[in-house]
């Protein structure tokens, strides 16, 4: 018997609402199968199961909002290693106690009088957002819900994506980042004429569905450089650095209507330019359509943000905890550049690195940016 628990899809996630079960008791599942849809602050996410087996019981009903770590379903059958376990963990170490503290911390605070009034009016407290101290649901929150029910308005939010909830999630993660992470920042302005020339050559012969954006080429250079700088790829957890189990790049994707997600492109350093471009396209479409999978949100080992060709020249990223680094790509601009002793107009882009000084030092960070620069000068080999 194995427990299938509410996964954490990021440091900022405390709880999720079960929107849909895609399996029934008796169904056979394999690790990686999408078995449920869970509504989080990041929208509705397809949740993958971590083990092979046969579903024996669905514990949490549709509509239930439960903290991270809560048992959602039970599986009978072959037990494999839990996918969440860090690959470095020696077999002798006892299995981690599954998220019990997080479950306690994730329980929403509801003041006694708010709970009583909600009971009297049949208000579903799980649907309310607390505005009191420590985000507690207070009397005023319940009174507002009571009056909106009385006036016929529906307090239920649209399933999938709630901009206010996502704002809260971003606020929590970024506040934690600025509070806990001693960031250092480096920047390198890079001549990208070779890179753009390669893109132009490639795209000239390709129909639109196969065309490449410059960001994909930059991402490839970044992924290869990150693979050579493992101190920047991983997590700062419980006072020490845990390296990532691959270069899984979170690609920061702005959502229409506000907010952003950074789903993972797994093993980005092993993907060709075309594969990276396809992954980016797919992720952006699904992120904006709220069709992401749970592993895509929990996997990133480093995040990359690109401001695009309508953005600012330089971005100073804020690291998404518990990751230890983030790379920013500014807008490509034409600037005077010294080439062989003469000034020429050249397309340049400013790459920035924000890194956690607990996990790495500026020297290593600088090597990453220099390596990206070097790779982009040899863009034809990428």
């Amino acid at each position: 018997m194995t427990d299938f628990r509410m996964p954490s899809l990021g440091a900022d996630m405390e709880a999720g609402t079960l929107v849909e079960w895609l399996v029934r008791p008796g169904d056979r599942v394999k690790r990686g199968n999408v078995v449920a849809v869970v509504e989080t602050q990041k929208g509705a996410i397809d949740i993958e199961i971590f083990n092979d087996g046969v579903v024996s019981e669905l514990v949490v009903p549709v509509g239930g909002r439960v903290p991270v770590g809560t048992v959602l379903a039970r599986l009978a059958g072959p037990v494999t290693e839990p996918a969440m376990a860090p690959p470095q963990a020696a077999p002798v170490t006892p299995p981690p106690i599954p998220a019990a503290p997080a479950a306690v911390a994730g329980r929403p605070h509801i003041t006694p009088v708010a709970r009583r009034l909600a009971g009297e009016h049949g208000i579903d407290l799980q649907r309310l957002t607390g505005t009191g101290p420590d985000n507690a649901i207070t009397l005023a929150d319940v009174q507002a819900a009571v009056s909106s029910v009385a006036s016929g308005a529906t307090p239920r939010r649209r399933a999938g994506f709630d901009p206010a909830a996502m704002r809260q999630a971003i606020a929590a993660a970024m506040t934690r980042s600025k509070r806990e992470i001693p960031h250092y920042y480096l920047s390198q302005t890079i001549d990208v004429s070779n890179a753009l020339a390669r893109i132009e050559r490639l795209n000239r012969e390709r129909p639109p569905p196969e065309r490449i954006l410059p960001a994909a080429l930059f991402l490839r250079a970044i992924a290869l450089a990150v693979a050579k700088t493992p101190e920047l790829n991983g997590f700062w957890e419980e006072g020490r650095f845990r390296p990532g189990d691959g270069v899984h790049i979170g690609w920061a994707t702005a959502l229409r209507g506000g907010g952003l997600l950074a789903p993972a492109i797994r093993d980005a350093n092993h993907r060709s330019l075309e594969e990276l471009m396809a992954s980016m396209r797919d992720l952006v479409l699904r992120a904006r359509g709220s069709g992401l999978r749970s592993s895509e949100l929990s996997d990133p080992t480093i995040t990359v943000t690109s401001l695009g060709d309508r953005g600012a020249e330089t971005v100073f990223p804020i690291i998404y905890p518990p990751q230890v680094a983030m790379v920013g790509i500014g807008r490509i601009v034409t600037r005077p550049w010294v080439v062989n002793g003469a000034i020429e107009p050249r397309p340049v882009v400013t790459l920035t690195l924000a890194a956690d000084h607990r996990a790495s030092d500026g020297h290593r960070g600088g090597l990453l940016l220099v390596e990206i620069d070097r790779l982009l000068q040899e863009a034809d080999t990428l």
């Binding site: 954006l213 702005a254 229409r256 980016m280 695009g308 309508r310």
Partner: protein
């Protein structure tokens, strides 16, 4: 493809990318990327969908000609 069909196609494609936009109020000469807040991936998808639905090849060098609604209509109907 006449101008009316082209306009319908373009608006349908844009609506799939920017579902919240009000296309009845979109000026024909407005720059789509600015007006609809399209990033480079959105614009590439716009070109891709137009190509797939119209069969017209749109080389990168021609992208500026499709920067407005009116420009895109005349490009598809030329």
């Amino acid at each position: 493809m006449n101008a009316g069909e082209a306009r319908t196609l373009i608006v349908d494609v844009l609506a799939s990318i920017a579902p919240e936009a009000d296309f009845d109020r979109l000026p024909g000469g407005a720059v789509l990327r600015d007006e609809l807040d399209l990033d480079s991936m959105d614009f590439l998808n716009f070109i891709t969908f137009l190509h797939q639905k119209s069969g017209i090849d749109i080389p990168e060098a021609d992208y500026p000609k499709l920067s407005t609604l009116d420009g895109a209509v005349s490009y598809l109907t030329r």
